[in-house]
Subunit: 380 residues, 2 copies
């Protein structure tokens, strides 16, 4: 099949910022795209050949959308997986595979998968309900995770005493040991339909303490070559074990014991890979498209060092967005803003990001700090 | 004025590949864009907020389009300049300035401008008609140029004998000495509304002998640091003298006498700057948008070396396009294709380009040769 300026059609479930950026290589290569999203003002509405408005969790909506394309992918995992399974049976190529989405979509099943494949992860126990977990937990702190529906820090809670359980929904869940870590790392792995598999360099993620969102992504991470190699090998093993085609972002803890533990995964382009648009020979969005179409994978190495700063809504502002200080921040050479196109800001809403590129990572870090101090996302 | 996710509107006259690539930073920054182009299937139709179909040379069409935007720019010089002058008088910001388009749009006036500003260029003489030129030309070879309407090798002819004049239209023209050159070079200069001005590194252009189109653009050019500095300084002087806001691409001859001569200029993103999308800290399209909106200019230096190969239609094929060998060429790491989205190929039609990036320019050149040999643009 030829993809370029042809009748080939790619479907994308989800039209947020990841969907918007997935459209970049599609425009560059003139690949026809259809986007499905519930929001009339989805960032990926513009630049898609067709935009369909609809519920990503509704069987008929996803199925009918998928029947119109040759290859179907996602930018968000919370989609109707039954519809994907049916589409796959009927010959639509669905990447990532719905079976992998099922494994990843339930944290208890995901943890069992790691255990079965000898993939290091924090010790855990699955429970049918939060109340059952409470009844069997005696040492603290531990981490409670809802089996389903968690993302961006939702569905995850650090439990310091039995009373903390009472604030949680009584749902199937797991309780895991809290890893004492030096750093949080991430590795993006690309796996092609052809069997080709490549990983990106290891990045370090600095989290914002309150919002539980990534504040800085740093590439390359300040770790030894040996740890970097171990992390990439481990991430590739995770991707292989899950049988995911396309991207898999693997979040890892580097423990104080100097060991690596898989934390969570996302089978799609990921916040930790935004930096690649400017810094990598092949950015993650293009790589995902290459992988799911069976095109040769591109070089994952970096041209320059990079730090990515998320632009999230100021916690005290809700309303029409204004990027205060953006033009000031752009005076620094190497400051590359991305504005997702959401007209309304809310506390901690992901509104954009800035990549700072420089030959030297230390300089990029200093610049990132300056950018962070200069810029705020407020309402007009 | 704030541009990001705001009511600000940018208009672009022309919806070809340069217009399409001008939309990339506009999508990235969520800047509202309106595109005017005569073709229903213009490459820049998709991803613009509004697409208007219309004649770029028609006064009313250009004027009415321009009245809807705050800033108006071009991706092609052949537009109705009277309409631009009226829009400018009525408060629309028009960049490049219509006065500069008038100077550049007539090659005789352009040459007179260089002479008046001490800018080195091939010795020339202006004529009211080709027949007058014929009557006064006695030594050969010389170069005949139509005063108006020439681009991409059209309107230019090397004259080896008096008989060659007879094949030409009898129009206002100039005759200039044929510079014996070592290399053809180009420098892109960005000039902001704020007065900030920056040039890109010097590139070398290798031309296809038959099509008179650029075959390879090589960055950095294989020239001495001194010549590179002279070329950038000269190009900046040209931009300043013309008073152009936005990009100005300056094509230069490096003579066998080791001197530089300005050949032609284009007040917009240019084929010789395509490489910047992958190789530069700030690509030419983003830089043009920064310049005309008065945003701080970005770093013009390169992250890596690059060679750009134009993908032009095979001379023996006309019809629905097929990019033969493209997937094979993509196996080389660092091969970055751009497909403009023209459904029909024609002999020598610009259908796309490929940028090859590598830390070493010599390796990039070898890869470019391989790509050129692997790929052809044919009809299905």
């Amino acid at each position: 099949m030829h993809y370029f300026s042809s009748n080939f059609k790619l479907g994308i479930l989800g039209g947020g910022q990841l969907g918007k950026m997935l459209l970049y290589p599609c425009r560059k290569w003139d690949i026809q795209t259809l986007v499905l999203d519930p929001s009339e003002v989805a960032p990926a509405r513009l630049a898609a050949h067709e935009f369909h408005r609809g519920d990503l969790l509704d069987f008929d909506t996803v199925y009918n959308f998928g029947k119109q394309v040759h290859v179907l992918t996602i930018e968000i995992e919370h989609v109707n997986i039954e519809a994907l399974l049916k589409l796959q049976r009927e010959g639509v190529k669905v990447y990532p595979q719905p079976e992998a989405l099922q494994t990843i979509g339930n944290k208890s099943i995901q943890k069992d998968h790691y255990a079965a494949h000898g993939i290091p992860t924090a010790p855990y126990q699955n429970f049918d309900s939060t109340s059952a977990a409470k009844a069997q937990t005696s040492s603290f702190p531990v981490v409670w995770k809802s089996a389903q529906g968690g993302y961006d820090g939702k569905g995850v809670k650090i439990i310091k005493s039995l009373a903390d359980f009472d604030e949680l929904p009584d749902v199937p869940c797991l309780v895991e040991a809290q890893i004492e870590f030096e750093k949080e790392l991430a590795v993006i792995v690309a796996s092609s339909t052809t069997g080709e598999r490549m990983s990106y360099p290891v990045v370090a993620m600095d989290f914002h303490p309150e919002a539980n969102q990534v504040e800085y992504v740093i590439c390359p991470a300040n770790i030894t070559d040996q740890i970097a190699e171990e992390a990439r090998t481990l991430a590739e093993k995770v991707a292989e074990s899950l049988g995911v085609t396309g991207l898999l972002a693997v979040e890892l803890f580097l423990g104080k014991d100097n060991k690596l533990y898989v934390n969570e995964v996302a089978p799609r382009p990921h916040n930790s890979g935004h930096y690649s648009l400017e810094a990598s020979y092949t950015d993650q969005y293009e790589q995902h498209i290459r992988a799911i179409l069976g095109l040769p994978l591109g070089n994952t190495e970096s041209k320059v060092a990079a730090v990515m700063v998320n632009l999230v809504g100021d916690e005290n502002h809700t309303g029409p967005v204004y990027y205060k200080g953006l033009e000031e921040a752009m005076k620094l050479k190497g400051v590359c803003p991305h504005i997702y196109g959401k007209s309304e800001t809310k506390p901690f809403r992901k509104m954009g990001h800035i990549t700072i590129i420089h030959p030297k990572i230390d300089t990029a870090r200093k610049m990132a700090k300056h950018v962070k101090e200069t810029l705020s996302v407020i309402s007009k």
